[in-house]
Amino acid sequence: MHELPVMQSILGIVLRHALMHGVKRVHSISLDVGELSDLEEEWMQKYFDHLSRGTVAEGARLKVRWVKAVLVCDGCSTRFELDRNRSEPPACPGCGGTRLSLASGREYHIKDMEAE
């Protein structure tokens, strides 16, 4: 839903780094995105293509690595993936504990880019 401003931000950062490194053309951009965020890959690319027209990032491919949402149990330190399709409240598969912390799933980073 909010891919447009997000892609605008990504493009701004990419162009800033492209300028710093004297880049003529950006080929790809690697992103780490937590699966708890609500971005849609297809729309990300479409909006990026639209926004990047006429810049050195035109035609660049977005490579999104989706980072799983992982919970850690307070009681026994078991790490397990949050299953959002499960209707029962999450519980530790090791000890059944429900005191849990979110270890990953909120990532929102631009990692690197391939450019010439």
Binding site: H2, P5, D38, P90, T98, R106, I110, D112, E114
Partner: protein, 222 residues
């Protein structure tokens, strides 16, 4: 074709907005103004909860409200009707507020004469969670008719909120809403979140919520 290089970027996707939000928090610290960002889906009861909060806290704090609406001024008129300064930000179709939009709203207010400003964010459980508004604390409302499964479908907002108001508890008897299940789901995402069970309509639980908010404001402006 030239040589292809790998350039490290290592930046947050929304780093510009984050920077702007940090600047805003600096300004708020200077003027000793607490900024609360209130989020929820449409119809969960943001405007009514704000109205109840104003009634409880207006004698203690100098308050104002920033209203975000895609294209109407109905909510801002309601708040202004209470004699509280209200600034309307039309997002022009945007589904959320970001720090630069909030900055414009704050610029229209006399921050040196305000202790507490509440942002009524755009009614939406998804997008507002992604954008730091520059607020000191975030709160969200989930209303009973929306269901206790919402943390599964819209997890991000639950992870960024310091307080969750479960509103419309006067509907509990009419639904299969499971407060215990909700609480486990929410705390798995955000263990430190404060949960308040509230009915803005009957007034039940509003004091506990307003008390929490007052504590946050006092701690910030002290």
């Amino acid at each position: 074709m030239g040589e292809i290089r790998l350039i490290e970027v290592k930046e947050d996707i929304l780093s510009d907005n984050k920077r702007e939000a940090q600047e805003l928090r600096g300004l708020l610290k200077q003027s000793k103004t607490f900024l609360l960002n209130l989020m929820s889906s449409p119809g969960a009861g943001k405007t009514t909860l704000i109205t109840r909060t104003i009634e409880r806290l207006r004698d203690t704090f100098r308050m104002a409200v920033i209203e975000a609406d895609i294209d109407s001024t109905v909510d801002a008129q309601k708040i202004a009707g209470l004699g509280i300064p209200a600034v309307q930000i039309r997002t022009g179709g945007f589904c959320h507020l970001d720090a630069s939009m909030v900055r414009k709203g704050l610029d229209a207010l006399d921050l040196d004469r305000l202790d507490l400003v509440i942002i009524e964010n755009v009614g939406n459980l998804v997008c507002p969670a992604e954008f730091d508004t520059g607020s000191i604390k975030n709160a969200m409302i989930l209303s009973v008719p929306e269901g206790d499964d919402k943390p599964l479908k819209y997890p991000l907002m639950f992870t960024v909120s310091h307080a969750l108001v479960v509103n419309k508890i006067d509907y509990l008897g009419l639904s299969d809403f499971d407060m215990e299940a909700l609480s486990i789901r929410v705390r798995a995402l955000n263990r430190d979140i404060e949960i308040f069970e509230v009915s803005s309509k009957t007034g039940r639980g509003v004091d506990a919520w307003a008390g929490w908010l007052a504590e946050q404001v006092n701690a910030f402006v002290a």
